[in-house]
């Protein structure tokens, strides 16, 4: 079981490394969107500190959207997805492996670049730390929920736009609590705990249900 999970994970990571542009696009999109705001609204310290958490999270949402469309599309086009559905392995396990690979390639880089991005917004060290933790808990949720949408819109014409209409509203709780955690860290570090706990709860819930829902959606889309 674990062997199959590793196999699919490594396969997707290898594929991404041979086609690096896809990974870098997401990261650079995130960096550019986040950097545009200080240029637009000016460099006043207080305004940026208020804007920062929200902007970073909205940019993370959009960046993760950007990569979602390709999560299953490539495998669908060359028939490997069909083969995965037909193996004796539980499809939700294979889907979870694909989502994990997707997060490692598109979510984790955002977490790692967060300190750099936070500095543009004059965020304190505490705020940056909380932002990293919140992103670490929140970005996997984005990948997991997004996978359901990607599976549902697979093979549809104009699926990309439909996907964002379908998925972005579902991202709202993550946005609210993710940005809330960073804002709360400006008042008292202890105040961030409930926000992070809720993000953790979202993560557990998404980990439980999203692979099952995505694999059910994939089976429908493949017909």
């Amino acid at each position: 079981m674990l062997r199959v999970f590793w196999c699919v994970l490594l396969r997707d990571l290898t594929l991404a490394l041979r086609r690096r542009t896809d990974v870098l696009t997401t990261l650079f999109f995130f960096i550019i969107v986040v950097s545009l705001f200080p240029l637009g609204v000016g460099t006043e310290r207080q305004i940026l500190q208020i804007l920062g958490p929200g902007v970073v999270w909205v940019a993370a949402l959009l960046a993760s959207m950007l990569a979602l469309e390709r999560l299953f599309a490539a495998d669908y086009e060359d028939g490997t997805l069909e083969q995965m559905v037909l193996t004796a392995q539980p499809l939700s396990l294979l889907v979870l492996a694909k989502i994990t690979a997707h997060w490692l390639l598109t979510g984790l880089p955002l977490v790692l670049i967060a300190p750099l991005v936070g500095m543009q917004y004059h965020l304190s060290d505490d705020a940056i730390l909380i932002m990293m933790v919140a992103l670490l808990l929140g970005t996997p949720v984005l990948s997991l929920i997004g996978a359901i949408g990607a599976a549902l819109t697979l093979g549809l014409r104009g699926g990309g736009i439909l996907l964002s209409l379908l998925i972005l509203p579902l991202y709202i709780p993550v946005l609210v609590y993710g940005a809330g955690a960073v804002t709360a860290s400006g008042i008292d570090m202890a105040d961030t705990r409930p926000y992070l706990a809720l993000l953790g709860a979202f993560l557990v819930a998404a980990l439980t249900f999203a692979p099952l829902a995505s694999s059910a959606a994939l089976k429908i889309s493949i017909e």
Binding site: R18, R19, D78, T80, E82, T87, A88, P90
Partner: protein, 191 residues
């Protein structure tokens, strides 16, 4: 409606040759057999049990080869076969993979991503799964297209061997397939 009133059973050691004009529903029938398409009504049974209910147990016994090769263009032939074997739940035996690669005549191309190979060579990589597979039921949709004479011979040999060992092959093709043992049954759609 594509077809109705279809009722047949295939015993071990049989090649079922599905024929019919373009658009008569050959691919749909084959995809239904695999569970990739749900028929409006009717049931498909494997060893007397509904394939829907068997689920993973049925898919373990099944190998499907469709219009799409089902190989990743950015992976090499070896990597593709290794992934396919792992997903099939077989212990991945490197020497078996190399042997399969030798048999399809792609030794020397093992370091190239399959995107650099020709159409026929890609198809050969996909066909190597037949050599590695232990599944008793093969469902092959137009397996002979894009293959050269040598590969056609190889595929015919593989099918004949599989049937001789008591396996079942269901295929669509426009050419005759010779068998060394076992029997050929024909199903004509759209008449």
């Amino acid at each position: 409606m594509l077809f109705s009133g279809l009722d047949f059973a295939v015993a071990g050691g049989t090649l079922l040759h599905v024929r019919g004009a373009n658009g008569s529903g050959k691919t749909t029938l084959l995809r239904s057999l695999c569970g990739l398409f749900t028929p409006d009504s009717g049931e498909i049974r494997w060893n007397g049990e509904s394939t829907r209910r068997l689920g993973e147990d049925y898919r373990r016994d099944l190998l499907y080869f469709g219009h799409l090769n089902g190989i990743k263009a950015d992976l090499t032939g070896i990597e593709n076969l290794r992934v396919a074997a792992t997903l099939d739940g077989d212990r991945v035996d490197e020497s078996a993979i190399w042997a399969a690669l030798a048999r399809i005549g792609l030794v020397g191309f093992e370091d190239l991503p399959t995107r650099m190979l020709s159409q026929g060579q890609k198809k050969r990589v996909a066909l190597a799964r037949l050599i590695l597979s232990n599944a008793p039921l093969w469902v092959l949709d137009e397996p002979f297209t894009a293959l050269d004479v040598g590969a056609v011979d190889l595929l015919e040999t593989l099918i004949a061997e599989h049937v001789a060992h008591g396996g079942i092959v269901v295929l669509t093709t426009h050419q005759e397939v010779g068998l060394t043992s076992g029997q050929v049954e024909r199903l004509h759609l759209g008449s």
